[in-house]
Symmetry: C2
Subunit: 216 residues, 2 copies
């Protein structure tokens, strides 16, 4: 056969916001079949436990401690394992499409002709609403909800987020990874005309035992 | 005892976008314990099948065919069953927080002192991105994603959605229940200054065998 064979497959799986009950049936099914699991360090160990014994488990590193895998290294490992015919699960916190750098991983797989499937998950912003008792849409009050990164990527120009447009957004705003930058984005929103008495809440460790909710 | 007792409980569960693999473990657990299940007619029958035999299954009606339960009727049934000590699952398509009228149901339960829990689900907009291969956020291109109803509630003023602000939104826009109204909201966005050549896609029956994706 002249064609290069890629009998393996990569599943890009959303693990949900943390609570081990919030992974999907399909996510668990992928984990039980995986030969290799590459997981974000934030994924709950009780979810990783669904992988079969004997699977190769690769933690992609914790900020501020041991080595963190770079995006090209992650891409290379997925391509390499799938090319060897292995079933690979790339397990991501929340939903892979929301601030998960999914496009870069999908592009790398597609460029090498690797078969892949995206398994969506419960995104943290919606779970935060559920667990903190905050309806993100409301028949009378909010016809829309926006999810915005609280960590403007350092490669982009600072201030590339249009806070004028965000301040006028006709619905609820949810900032992801926004705890450490809360002072910045709240100031930017108020400066752009958002009333300073707009109700707000900060949710930490959503759906996990250490969850904290601060309303302000 | 002078206090009225409410030993039952209501679980407001997101069933995900349709694919029976996209329900969460916690959602399945609630279904297996339920005495009464009130489900939207759009929920996949394969998901409803997780309920134990003997549970009372109540379909809330299909648009355009038999009777549709009104919101007050749904609230009354949940309160009544839980007050009798039953475990009730209110099964909703997608995620309960996103255009699911969750606030009205939660208010009705809270007003009667009924214990409840919200179990988030995979919302259709994110699944649409996964299944249609469209990254909704991108490190370089989109720092935010907004979910907007395509069915402005008839009780509100027509045109109450601020399309000027939506047209300037710095990220991806996802219109829910927007297929029949696509001509209206695209025209409103373009009139508000959104370039007419903005890439767009329409996804029908997301994650189900009949899924269709049209890019334009």
């Amino acid at each position: 056969m002249s064609d290069e064979r890629h009998p393996g497959k990569v599943y890009l799986v959303g693990a949900g916001p943390g609570d081990p009950g919030l992974v999907t049936l399909r996510g668990v099914e992928c984990l039980t079949r995986a030969d290799v699991v590459l997981y974000d360090y934030l994924v709950n160990p009780q979810i990783i436990r669904h992988a079969r014994s004997g699977a190769r488990m690769i933690c992609l590193g914790r900020h501020g401690s041991e080595r963190i895998w770079t995006q090209p290294e992650i891409n290379r490992q997925m391509v390499e394992s799938a090319s060897e015919g292995q079933v690979v699960v790339r397990l991501k916190g929340g939903d892979p499409l929301i601030f998960g750098r999914l496009a870069e991983e999908v592009d790398a797989l597609a460029a090498r002709g690797i078969d892949f499937e995206v398994v969506p998950g419960v995104t943290a912003g919606l779970a935060a609403g559920s667990y903190a008792g905050i309806p993100l849409t409301h028949r009378d009050l909010a016809s829309a909800v926006a999810m915005v990164t609280g960590q403007e990527c350092t490669d982009k120009q600072p201030g590339s987020l249009d806070f004028q447009a965000l301040a006028k957004f006709p619905g609820t705003l949810v900032f992801y990874m926004g705890v450490t930058t809360a002072a910045d984005w709240t100031a930017a929103l108020i400066q752009a005309g958002k009333p300073a008495d707009t109700p707000a809440a900060i949710v930490c460790k959503c759906s996990l035992p250490g969850q904290q909710t601060i309303r302000c």
